[in-house]
Subunit: 149 residues, 2 copies
């Protein structure tokens, strides 16, 4: 159990995520939104008229979390939530004009996280592929189902 709590490799994954989040935060705050709001708006723009459940899956968050995030985005006038005409349980989500403008400005601006991502992807191809492969192997181990649960 200690080795699970004090593992250098697993710590490195946490550190990378934290660093990446901080870089995204710089861009997001430039536009007056949060990182999660930025990711959400980006996914909505890539999948117009998506529902909340689908969006939650894409963002890998629970529906209750996404419901709250959407609430705040609607309140800021960045996202529009409409009831689906064919199924009144469901909603459709899209960016408002203001939301599209915000995202556009974000993509046009100079972005530290973009530069760093490029720098990462400009590492040796075989190293990137090795990383992807090994990361997926680790993910498989971590998510493998067992009857012992």
């Amino acid at each position: 159990m200690r080795d699970a709590l004090n593992n250098e490799l697993l710590r490195s994954y946490a550190n990378i995520n934290k660093a990446y989040f901080q870089l995204l935060k710089i861009d997001a705050e430039r536009m007056g939104i949060t990182v999660v709001q930025l990711k959400t708006m980006y996914r909505i723009s890539a999948h117009p008229n998506t529902g909340l459940g689908e969006l939650a899956e894409i963002l890998r968050l629970t529906k209750s979390t996404v419901s709250g995030v959407i609430d705040r985005l609607v309140h800021q006038g960045l996202v529009e939530r409409t009831i689906q005409s064919t199924d009144r349980r469901a909603i459709n989500l899209k960016l408002t004009e203001k939301g599209q403008k915000t995202l556009k400005q974000l993509f046009e601006g100079k972005s530290i996280v973009s530069e760093k991502t490029h720098e990462i992807m400009n590492m040796r191809k075989e190293d990137i592929n090795k990383l992807l492969s090994l990361n997926n192997q680790i993910l498989s181990i971590l998510t493998a189902r067992e009857d012992i649960y």
Copy 2:
């Protein structure tokens, strides 16, 4: 900017962290605590009489976050907070007997996350070393300071 938001490699890091967190959660909840509380108690047991600032650094969280986590652990009777005699601004943290017992039971029990961590560390040594090396390279890129900030 899009590539920063839709990058398969960076997504894999997020997925690994999420999966690892879920496994830790199973053990933590068996003991009636949360993952962050478990990590905090583990670090306090490894560094008895640590202060809040030092603990925040070890956990890679802000002092305000750790202050709240400690509040809840003290309230559950798992951690003890005392004022340092030599510096009344500072506090000393240690596990109570109940806290030590909880951690002991956790370490003795059968642990999914422990097994998976072992399975990961039993991957080919050269692959693990390669991963560590590449992860640290990526972390360096992400955290490199620039005058452009």
